[in-house]
Symmetry: C5
Subunit: 352 residues, 5 copies
């Protein structure tokens, strides 16, 4: 939510490389994939010199970096692949919004994979930076994770199209995975919404209001990640860049559609949550009305009667009624009449 | 509302064919229509090889598939008609928003027919996928239904224009039917709204608030289906695709106008419902005010009087007033004065 | 508000001619005007064959049809003037939004004249369809009325420009009249708003809230008619159609400006009405506060005192205070002190 | 706010000249300025024939008309300067929104100068129409006023650029003055807002709510004048019209920026006022809470105690407690315990 | 917030130079930097003639003026650098919105650096005007400050790119610094929001509502500075101006992205604050409900009982119950039954 610690950079020259954000990984780990339709090599590397893309156009190199706190490694990669200092700065500053930038020789993308959201865990935002070159893809993540394992598995076992297509398709599958995870998150949230909705009908409690507010908050959060992503994907899809082949274009359009679907769902959820809050407030106001009615009915009937019995509790010496034989039953009669009249009034006002 | 079970796909290669959504039909049923201006053939088919479009340009083939759980059939159709895996994936994933996609040789459309809405039944959303080729139309539905019967009847009996025009006109009539059903749904909802509105004037109850909220919810639901449909129709209408003949263009423009009309009505209903909720809340607040006024009037008159009679109910030995001859009537006089003064005050404050 | 009975059409072939809407006129009446700068002929006709436009370009023919339930007449006119079935369908379906459609040889316009709005009468919406050809204008109305009388009078007496200009100018004057009537309606509503506003300042009652809600409802209604009209006029003004001469263009621009003015006023009224509702609710909340304060002051002062006198109303045998000579005056003193202290507290809290 | 009396025009031919609006001036007064870099002539004229622009391109003629009720004069001017009837109609109909229209030989502008706003005076809207020709400027105002005196003075004394530049610059300075007066008005309103805001912090009263509502109303009013002005200025600035020289273009851009600034401020004020209303309502709700707490605390403590003393005020013959020696002190003890327990409960609920 | 004192200018010729705003600096101070890749000269100057840019293209001159009240100096600079009077007017009028204007030979930019925001200090807005020429940059500030010190240090010590690039890059670094400070401000505000949010969960007090309102106000303030800045940067970035070299373009795009990020964060904060206000109000309404429930329970139980004991406190001579032996215990029994019944009722209504 907050661009914490970004203030450390204020005043430094633009392009200064400082890691901004929590250090989420112990060590920086670099993994290299190199494949074409027929071969695949996978290894963890120490020295970046091993990572330089082969001159061969058809061999795709994918380098994934987990952990961003070792600025030196980033700098070295920047030199090897000719990355612009501003791109490197964006990779390190983990409070970026999703964006797409075309640097000519390569395209630069930032995404915000989200996780969590279940069992009242806050949604957790990470930053994934993707550099897409002619025959290489570089990815940078804040922490080690197995989020890309399905894709690694597909490359290893040559499942799906990924081995037969270019670097752009690899980048696409990575982004597709991120967007797919948005759907998973939305399902989790959607189930929570349904749960609260069902409970609201039975008996609304302040806890529900709190849960609705929390969900609304998470929608703001989600929205902030998804809206710019849509823009970024649109930018990538519409860019004239020769990096994106035509056959990948169709897939990107599909991915764009998925993002629109996510946005759509988020907006609907927001509307639904607002409606639920209204339901809660309406029912709270109904309860208040109910409570006030009970109080008013009881008070309105008994306060005058209490006054009346108070009158005949006075100790004046000269109170003729006190001596009447039928005084006491008469008072009861009067009081019952008053009570019945009041009840009748309430009925007329439809309070009963 | 929710993209339930979509999470099953996260991590699978794009284009993987898995049916997502409830299985709503027992069996997959494939029906084939083949007609030109003079002839019409209609049959239920088992083998798809019978379905291949004739080379003749003027004979239109319409294949309708009910039930999407048999992925194999879809795959076969995809091969026969040269459909892109992403289109097939969209057909199977029944949580799509309406959309239009131009694949060159064919156009791909998704619509969300809606039904229900009456007798407090939830609105029921289905997915209808249409593939429009030069001389064929493929339609995919989640369940068997007779929704297209009027069109089948028109083809059989050569009523209207449908037999004289191309595949694009057939696709148009199918979409027109879906949009016409939106109007039917809107009428049902409109009548409900009118009913509640009339009831609100007489006596608002919490049930009305609930019904209004439910209708608002359904409007969100409707909106989600209709807005993207408008976009899709606009896309189809404006596409340069040679699949849509010029004379059909006019009809598509008309259909687009109908969709705008639906959107318009939905937005008006939303405004009206918001207004009704405001009326409900205003009237609730008025009732509360009313209740409080009654309570306050009664309490304010009788509490001081009760205090007074309490005073003369004390048992002090030395209370001269108690011995006065006119003490008791005097107390009554004082109390009546207080009461009248209070009533006068309330009148001045316009509470009475 | 509602597209009632539109459901009757669902499933019928597009272009089927069925009159949808109330039958508002007894009989269909067709009146013909034929004029040029020097001559004018006006008659009521039975047979449409008399209506065919003269070959002469400068003679304008205006045919007005009141009453839409006789579908046959419409069909005949459609044939005579070469109207597209979709246009005819739109004329008959009286739940259309205002729109403009260019059919090449003629332009087709739908407007929603509004009337009523005064003396708590609901606003009444009609449908006026205009077909503008090179040298003819066709108008279709739901009921007989004298709304166009001023224009007829102008044609007869050759006042203004209308006889000197073409069919497009005639169509313009018809539309201008409709928009002028919007201003009349807005004035009526504006006066109502002013009235309620003045009354709100003096003493807000629930009736005002009701009236405000009713006006808000009417604004939604108005808006639905005027927004698409603006679009339609813009379409007509910007269309490349040769039907609209350049000198008429200036007038259309002016008419467009008027429509924008109407929209502007409607939006302002909506804002003003929202503000008035806020005023009402604020004042209701103020009243509630006021009521609660009175209740609380009275109760807070007298409830403790009543307790106190209750204490000395107890019948214990051993209550030394009851025997004190100054017991009774002392209790009064204590009670007065408590009362004064309470009042002082309320003053401090600024409740008095 | 209201287009009062516009209804008088409904049904009349477009371009009919009728003065719509209040008659604000006694007589129509026409003043003529004729100047170039070296000479200036200023006179009040009777006959418009004196007003015809000189053939000399460099001599600028400025004719100002105060008072619009003498339609004849307008008609004459229209003939002399070749104004379109629609332009004349707009000048006379003083309920126009600001607009710009390019008539080729001249440009036509309508502005809404605003005044008042201080000491609870309503904002007063006038209509200023400007016709800008190659070497003349015509201005039409509803009433006599000295609003343009600074410019007259500048022309007379040759201060600033005005004498050295063309008719377009003169028109610009007139408009600049109108926009400058918006800033004056905004300052007045801004000071009021600040005042109320400071007062709200100390003690919110219903009067503040009223004042806030009044200011909100004025913002709606202002907005209605300024938004279309922005559009109009943009139109003038971007128009290809040869009437606007390039060096004046920079000034118009600046004027446009000022208008945007005004709009910006109006929108901010609206936001601020909404916020202030929220503050008012929040604080009203806080007060209500406070009041209810006091009532509840007092009632909850004393109502049970009053019951208790009531018990021992009963006159049963067999009430053993009444005879106990320590009965009375014991009752006090019990009551004090109950009171303390209650206070303790309130403390626990954080009501104290 | 307010364009205070701007009214002083109303009626003066456009381009009149008057300082509008508070005088924030004692003296006007002019500092000159002149550098190329190899040399740097820095001095405070008195006479502006020393400031004229060198004919050499590669030597950059940066003149910074602190304090705007000495109009003469501005006028002189305007003459020396050929600035347009409108630009000079904007520099002096310190109530401008951020803007970009292309004057051909130079570009003119206005920014609003913001400071403060911590420890309940109001956010403080200044005006920074930047004139960017081919080989010079002029900056104008309202008061002396060390805000640009990091950049001065970088120039002196030749850190970063600034000495190697042109005047456009210098202007960029200045703007970058301003935007960086927005992030610092947002962090401060974000921390406050978090603080209040955490406190709201524990126990909401009216103070929180006040703080939320204050923060909302500051967001309006921030928004007003940042939205036009985005526009201005976009204008600069997209302008065809030859003043901005291509390599600086990338940096400007980055800066533009940062501004969008700021806007994004501001909008999110607004949403979050609205949500927090809702939470506050919901919880206030919950408390009210709670309070009312307590009051109603106590009153509803004891008021009838008090009435009952009142009955047997009456002094009628003929009240048989008073003489019954078990009268007193019976009354207790009845009262306990009533009390239990009431409690049972409350339980049923789920009030307990």
């Amino acid at each position: 939510m907050r661009s914490r610690k970004r203030s450390r950079k204020a005043g430094l020259p633009p392009g200064t490389l400082i890691h901004i954000g929590e250090r989420k990984a112990e060590n920086t780990r670099i993994t290299l994939f190199r494949y074409d339709a027929d071969h695949v090599v996978e290894k963890q590397i120490q020295s970046l010199s091993q990572a330089l893309p082969l001159p061969d156009e058809d061999t795709i190199t994918w380098i994934n970096v987990d952990g961003l706190h070792e600025v030196e490694i980033l700098k070295e990669m920047g030199d090897l692949f000719g990355l612009h200092p501003l791109a490197l700065e964006d990779i390190l500053n983990t409070h970026q919004r999703p964006k797409f930038e075309d640097y000519g020789a390569y395209a630069f993308l930032i995404l915000n994979p989200l996780s969590g959201g279940n069992q009242d865990r806050e949604i957790d935002k990470e930053q994934l930076s993707i550099v897409l070159g002619r025959n290489f893809v570089l990815t940078f993540q804040e922490r080690e994770g197995d989020v890309f394992d399905p894709i690694r598995e597909r490359i290893r076992s040559n499942k799906g199209r990924v081995r037969k297509m270019g670097a752009d398709y690899l980048a696409y599958t990575l982004m597709d995975l991120v967007v797919d995870n948005y759907f998973v998150l939305l399902e989790t949230l959607g189930e929570k919404i349904e749960e609260i909705e069902d409970a609201l009908v039975l008996k609304p409690t302040p806890e529900h209001a709190g849960a609705i507010h929390r969900l609304k908050r998470q929608m703001i959060f989600l929205r902030r990640s998804v809206w710019p992503l849509r823009e970024a994907l649109n930018g990538l899809h519409r860019s004239e860049s020769s990096l994106v082949r035509q056959e990948t274009g169709l897939f990107l359009r599909d991915l764009y559609d998925h993002t629109v679907h996510v946005i759509d769902t988020v907006e609907s959820f927001r509307d639904v949550l607002s409606g639920m809050l209204d339901i809660y407030l309406t029912s709270a106001s109904n309860r208040m009305n109910e409570i006030m009615k009970v109080l008013t009915i009881i008070a309105t009937i008994f306060i005058p009667l209490t006054f009346l019995v108070g009158v005949y509790g006075m100790n004046f010496e000269h109170m003729p009624e006190l001596r009447w034989k039928w005084g006491y039953p008469l008072v009861w009669l009067v009081m019952i009449c008053i009570g019945v009249f009041m009840l009748f009034q309430f009925r007329k006002k439809r309070w009963l």
